[in-house]
C-alpha cells in the first residue's frame, strides 16, 4: 500500500541485521593491519631502493677509483716509455749498433707519382680517458616512479 506508514522493524529483525561486535572489530583490525602492511611495504620499497642506490654508488666510487688508478698507471707508463725511447737514448743505441747519421750522399731520391702526403695521426686526447660525458647509469636513478612504471610497461609491451 503506497500510503501505509513505515513500520519500525521488530527488535529481532534489528538484531538480525546488526553487525556483530566481533565482526566489526575484525574488520577494523583488518583495515588497520592492511594500512600498516601497505605502509611497511612502501617503507620496504624505499629501503630497498635506497640500499640499492647506496650500493650502486659505492660500486661506482670503487670503479672510478679503480679506473683512476689504472689511468694513472697508463699515464706513468706512457711517460716511462717515452723516457726509454728518448732521442738521446735512441741515438746512443743506434750508435752502439753501428748506425751513423745519413748524409746527402747516402740517400737516393726517387720521384713517386701520386704519393699521398704524410699524415700524422694525433694521439687520443688525455681528457677522453678521464671525462665520460654520459656515464652509463640506469635511468632508474633519475626518473620518477611514474616514469619507471611507464617504462616498465612499455618495455614489456615492446618485448
Amino acid at each position: 500500500m503506497p500510503n501505509d506508514p513505515i513500520r519500525k522493524p521488530s527488535p529481532k529483525k534489528i538484531r538480525a541485521y546488526k553487525l556483530a561486535p566481533w565482526r566489526e572489530q575484525t574488520r577494523l583490525l583488518a583495515i588497520g593491519l592492511a594500512s600498516v602492511s601497505g605502509l611497511m611495504a612502501m617503507l620496504a620499497l624505499f629501503i630497498f631502493t635506497g640500499a640499492q642506490a647506496a650500493e650502486a654508488g659505492l660500486r661506482v666510487q670503487s670503479l672510478i677509483r679503480e679506473r683512476d688508478r689504472q689511468l694513472r698507471q697508463l699515464e706513468a707508463q706512457e711517460a716511462e716509455l717515452s723516457q726509454r725511447q728518448s732521442e738521446e737514448w735512441m741515438r746512443a743505441r743506434a750508435a752502439a749498433l753501428g748506425f751513423t747519421p745519413a748524409g746527402a750522399d747516402d740517400i737516393d731520391y726517387l720521384v713517386v707519382a701520386e704519393i699521398p702526403a704524410a699524415v700524422t695521426i694525433p694521439p687520443s686526447p688525455t681528457s677522453l680517458l678521464y671525462i665520460a660525458d654520459d656515464i652509463a647509469l640506469s635511468p632508474a636513478y633519475r626518473e620518477t616512479l611514474l616514469e619507471w612504471v611507464l617504462r616498465a610497461i612499455l618495455r614489456k609491451g615492446g618485448a
Binding site: L33, A54, R59, E80, Q83, S86, P123, T126
Partner: protein, 651 residues
Amino acid sequence: MDRSLHRRVRFAQFGLLIPLVLILLQLSRFQILSTEDRRALDEAPYPLNQHIETPRGRIMDRNGHLLAGNSSKYRVYVDSCQYYLYMEKLGGLAEGADASLSDVIAAVARASGAEIDTRETVTMLQEVDQSLQAEYGQPLSTCTLMAGVRTDSEGQKLAIPLWLTEEQNFGLEVAQGIRPDESGKYHNSSDLLFNIRTEAWFFRNYPEGSLASEVVGYSRQEGAGQGRSEDGVIRYYREIGDWGVERFYNDILQGAREDVSWSVVPVEITSNLDRAQPPADLVLTIDREIQAETEAALREGLLAGEAARGSIIVLNPRTGEILAMADSPSVDLQNPDGFLSTFRVKGRLPMDPEGQVVSLNVAAPYEPGSTFKVLTMAAALDSGAVIPGTWFMDSGRIEIGGVVIHNWQRLGFGLQDMTGCLRHSINTCLAWVATQLGPGPFYEYMDRFRIGRLTGVDMSPEISGILRRPGDRSWTDSTLATNAYGQGVSATTLQMAVAISAVANGGVMMTPHVVRQIILPDGRVHTVTPMPLGQPISAATAATLQEMLSVSLELEGSKALVEGYRIAGKTGTADIPPYVTTKTVASFVGWGPVDDPQILVYIRIDEPTADQDRQYGSITAAPVFARLAPRIFALLGIPPDSVRLTLSTGG
C-alpha cells in the same frame, strides 16, 4: 567462532607476516650482512672527502713523441693524528703504551721503503699541533707526513715534502692489506697502518730532459693549496707554466684538482666528475730529430768558439713553423734545482744584468750587428734608393751626424757595388745606404719588419727589442747610421729570423709559431693555419736581395756554404753595449735551397774568444750552419740541387 573464520584470520596473519619478514630480511641484509662496498662505507667518514683530478695536457713534437707527460706521486696522511700525538707524549712515561706517532711513521717507512726522518717529523708535527691549538684552539686532526726538515738561509725550519713513488705506494698498500702483493696474496693489515691514507697527485714528467726545454717550458705547482670554493667544492689550479708553451697555453693545458664531498648517490658522483676540467693536448711544430741536431750543432759551435752562451732557431719561412729552437746553457727539466744557475748564465747580458732570462731566442734582445744589414739593404732596394749595381767608394770611414763610422778592422774596400758591400759587410756602405734612404723611410721599413715589436709567437714571455726613432730623446743622425749595420738597435734572435724570413719567402713574413695542433678534450683536432705577419718588401726585391746574398757568400767562399745546395745568408759580428770591451756576439743567418727555401737558420753565439779571429760571425757562426743545414736537409728529405733539378725535369 566457526572454522572458516579462523582460517581467514590465519590467512590474513600470514599475508601480513610475509612482507614483514621480507622487510626484516632486507634490513638485515643491508645492516647485518657485510659486503666489501658497505665495509668501505663503514670505514670511511661520511660524506667521503674525495680528491679528484685530471692530468695536465700532454705536449708532443710534430711526430707525436712525448715531450711533457704526467706521472703520479703519493702524499701520505695519518688520520686520528691527535691520538698518536697524545700517545707520543705518553710514550716516554708508560711502559707498553699504545702506538705513538713515531711507531706509525716508522711503520710507514718500513712498508714503503721511503726515507723518513722520524724524529724530526714528529717534532715538527708536535710544533704545528701546539701552534694550531694556541692560535685557533683546534688540535691537529690529520697529519701530513714529511720526509724530514731542512733549515733555510734565514734559519727557519722548512718541511721536506714526502711523496711516495708508485712502487713505494704499492709496498705501503700491500702492507695495509688493501692490495695483493705481486703473487696475488693479500697480507694481514698492520694495526700501525690502520689510519694511514695516501692520496695520488699528478706531477709533470719531461721524458726528453733538456731537449727543447726552451720551447716546452716548465710547469710547477703553485703555492700551498690556495683553492677556490665553488658550490661547496674546493677547486685547485696549482699547475702554473713558468715559460715557453707551458706558460703560453697554461689555460688549456691545466687539469683540475678538486676536493669534493662525495655522496654515495650515483647521480651526485657523476655530477662531481663532470666538474673536472678537461685539458687539451698540444702537438708542436718542433721536430725532435732536427731539435737534437740543432742542439748538438750549437754545443759544438760554442765549444769551437769557447763561448758561454748561444742560440739557434730553425724555421720554415713558408709557414712560420719553428722546427727547432735551442739555446745554451739549457735547463734539464727533470732537475729544477739547476734552473736558477742556468738562468743566471743566460741572463748575464748588458740589457738584463739581473738574470732570469729563460729563453735566449725569445726573451733576450741583443744588438744583432751585420745580420741587420739584410734589412737595411732590403729597405733601400725596395724603395729604389739603391739598385744592386749602385757603386760606393769605400775609404774605410764615413762621418754621419758628427760621428765617424769605421769598418771592421778599420779596413777600406775601395769601389764596391751593393753585392760587394754585403759580401765584405761594409759598415760605411750600409750607413751611406741608410742616408740615401733617409730616416723616415728607413724607420718605416723597420716598422714593417716589426723591429722593436713582438712577433706574437705562442711562447711566453716574449720580450721585444728597442728601436729608437727620430723624435725620441736619444735619437740623433748618427743613430740612423749605426742602426743601418745593426748597432744601437736591439732585437731577439726570433725577431731577426722572422724579419729576414721575408727575403726568403717572396717578401712575406709569416707569424712564427710552435704549436701545430691542439687536440681538444672531445677529440677534435684544431690545426693551426699559417698566418702572414706582413709583407714589408715586394717579391721582386726579395728575389733580388736573395740572389745578392747568395752570390756574396759564394764570392766570399764562406764557411757556411753547403755542398750540393745553393744557400743565401749573412754573417754578423756585433759589439756589445756599452762597447768598452772587445767582446762580440757572432751570428749567421742562412736559408736554402735558394730556389725553394724551406728552412731558415739563425745562429747566435755570445762572447766567443777573440783568439784566432773567432770573435767574428764568419769564423764561429757560419761553420755551425754548414754543419747543421745538410743534416736538416737530409731529415726533411730535401734532395741536393742537382738531384732536384734532374727529378723535376724528369731526367
